[in-house]
Symmetry: C2
Amino acid sequence: MTLTGKNFIAGEWSGNTNNGFTATNASTNEAMTTTFADATETEIEQAVTAANSAFISYSQLSSTKRAHFLRTVGEQIVALGDELVDIASAETGLPAMRIQGERGRTVGQLNLFADLLESGEYQGVFDQADNERQPMPKPDTRLGYLPLGVVGVFAASNFPLAFSTAGGDTASALAAGCPVIMKAHAAHPGTAELVGRAIGKAITLCGINAGVFSLIQGKNYAISSQIVTHPLVKAIGFTGSERVGMILQQQINQRAEPIPFYGELGSVNPQFILTNKLKEDAEQIAQALVASLMMAQGQFCTSPGIWAVIDNKESDSTVECFIDTAISAIENTEAGVMLTSGIAASYKAAVNEWQAIDGVTLVAQGQQSSTEHLCSAALFSTSFATFEKHTVLHEEVFGASALIVRCADDDEMMQLVASLKGNLTASIHGLDSDLKQAQAVAQFLAHKVGRLIYNQMPTGVEVCASMNHGGPFPASTNIRSTSVGSEAIKRFQRPICYQNMPQELLPLILRNT
Amino acid sequence: MTLTGKNFIAGEWSGNTNNGFTATNASTNEAMTTTFADATETEIEQAVTAANSAFISYSQLSSTKRAHFLRTVGEQIVALGDELVDIASAETGLPAMRIQGERGRTVGQLNLFADLLESGEYQGVFDQADNERQPMPKPDTRLGYLPLGVVGVFAASNFPLAFSTAGGDTASALAAGCPVIMKAHAAHPGTAELVGRAIGKAITLCGINAGVFSLIQGKNYAISSQIVTHPLVKAIGFTGSERVGMILQQQINQRAEPIPFYGELGSVNPQFILTNKLKEDAEQIAQALVASLMMAQGQFCTSPGIWAVIDNKESDSTVECFIDTAISAIENTEAGVMLTSGIAASYKAAVNEWQAIDGVTLVAQGQQSSTEHLCSAALFSTSFATFEKHTVLHEEVFGASALIVRCADDDEMMQLVASLKGNLTASIHGLDSDLKQAQAVAQFLAHKVGRLIYNQMPTGVEVCASMNHGGPFPASTNIRSTSVGSEAIKRFQRPICYQNMPQELLPLILRNT
């Protein structure tokens, strides 16, 4: 199969690839061969108009048919075979095995939503009529859910399959009954094209209105702006940096009609290692934290970026042991390929910026490489006093960088909790004998995170009904939503009450059985 | 009991009433005696800080205790007796019987949330651990809900009890576990003070942290701005005009941390009278629409503002009969007191503006009054072509004004549906023989409303589990939320996933039974 470099607009491949952009092979840092067309204003308008035209019929498709469509998308992704793995691996620098695993997760997500649709859950609430009620009769009221309309989705750089073209946002929006305008990530346009092709085949196989999905390629900001400000677009899903996310948020704020913006922007995923746990397991926990940090070269949204310990007379040697173990482990790590040269440059700049801060020590670095676009892990250490003073230390560094924050006592650890911005996750590492300290930390830490973990690493997100992948800002721009797990579908639905409706006018799921 | 005119800041009555504002007796249009203190910047800061300090302990109160607190608030409101009815009636011009009914609803809402808390619903979702799973064990994950933090609530002018100091927003926020900063409406500050006193008594009786509730009086915009932009305020509830709502929205948009804004801003609540229904029941439906329109002098958020009929050769005489009946009914209505002289002036200006539009006919007016602050009902008629051309006709006129839109055929009626902005409600009025037409209208109309009604008037909102009072903008700034019914509590909660937590670190409701 050859890549076309074109946009996929409501079933048609479209675009002028003479003056577009190319992807970069992340491992070699060399341009790849296909030129991709920046989508034009007209193409985006066509995509949104077609999506809106497809909305009513697609939203009224039975749950069974929508489920079948989602499963078919998954099957078509698998049918892409090794070519998908090869291109995704080349574009992102992520190893083939990781891409294969992510493909499994992506198909699993599509099937999760298919299962959900087939299960007939979300039936809403019924309140029966009561004609005898005084002073006025009670009408029959039934609470149902409607899809919001056209959803704009922005792909993430760090999950070329699971958070991209047919990733969690797309799967949950399609499951909810919403057409999707997918803005591909410019770092993996070939991966996007292949997956877009799979979705296109599934649309044809299932006889669905082609407007239900369009794939927009491009590198310029005008494209994103046009999508998020379009009056027919009714919700946005985004995973990326706080900087870009806030640009989109500001554009969305200019709209006449406010719409939900589900942006997952940044998280330092703080790790609290409690007193007795540190005494017992300093080495084991240090090694586990480094292993978690190094996953995908630190490019997981749940990467553990802050490690909090209590460092005083009582704990002195255990903190030393913990730090020494972490230093050895970090020093053993090889320099690694980053998703893009831009991410590599930002990472290096952040590491340099932190090094220059008075009171912050770079205690360990991974092995260096003479190759410019490879990055080495970095482990810093600082006191809580220094951490508190420098807001830059509270920001996520995307990549394998972590900061040990040494608190003088329990009080300072509680102040550290209070000083945190919002996070996707945090972990508390403790023994039974740490329970009192754990309770004190947990009751405040819970309000800073979307997922609170005990004695496990933050990396690795279960895709299940009880998952929450979101949290206080900047983890999410919409604290009441999750982007992973079956609850993610709710982001693209909204309640409606049907009052005194004849059976024929009710959605199937709300009719009398 | 004498009104103090003061603010109630975390348990203390505070403020300088020497240079404040007075309420107006809506019926006489004369200033009332008490001077109310505009809250100062310092008082608001104190209120928010105290609320934030109260947050963790209040949020951890058991459901039973929180339910008892809500019931006690209701009891204390009832204990205010006739004085509350007298003051609310004087400040708003609403008759005593209406205020008594609204008091019942307000207490009912508090008890509804108390019932909900006691029922132990919202227990979240559990996914059990599976240590044998390959390639990696599945951790124990449990989805729970946390309150958001301090909530700012803005009282509505048109429901001095049910959407004000202890109204639906306050009740649902307190039920969720959030402290409340209540900005009283300047049109009924005395009512607010009395209800604030009742809440204060309930706080004392239940031994709750006084920071949980503060009442802010005032007329200047700086007060609202300070509340909505305060970093410790985590959600806003507002019911009022689109103009003021959008000012608040823009201020909220400037925040570093986005927060949910639940604004209920405006709705024309369109009524679709289908062909056969019009033929059979022209007179009955016209009378019912006028009766619904005249409730509280048209000052219900669900007032029926647009009445759509098909007017062509086949329907000609029935439309005439419908309009003639409506004209007679409107002409029989007396001029009425409005909630405020500002609302009266806006209403009159809108009626004048519509009258001046080419193609819009003022077909009937209610009885006129020589008293400046009384308003007469107004019934307009226009073609769909004129309606489509003038966006001002799509806007809510707050008061007893309605517009009959004559569509040439089914197609134009569908175009009318498509041209509508978002609404709290819409009704379809039909016979069994109108079913096909009803289905065509309903499938598109559903996407324009928060509540779709069949053969009933839009005024009157059930407070129950299946209610949705919200809808697409401008009905609500947050389409995924309801401000009435038990689901309203969800506006002030957000999901959190607990992973691998020991029982002692879980909220009671998520522990193993």
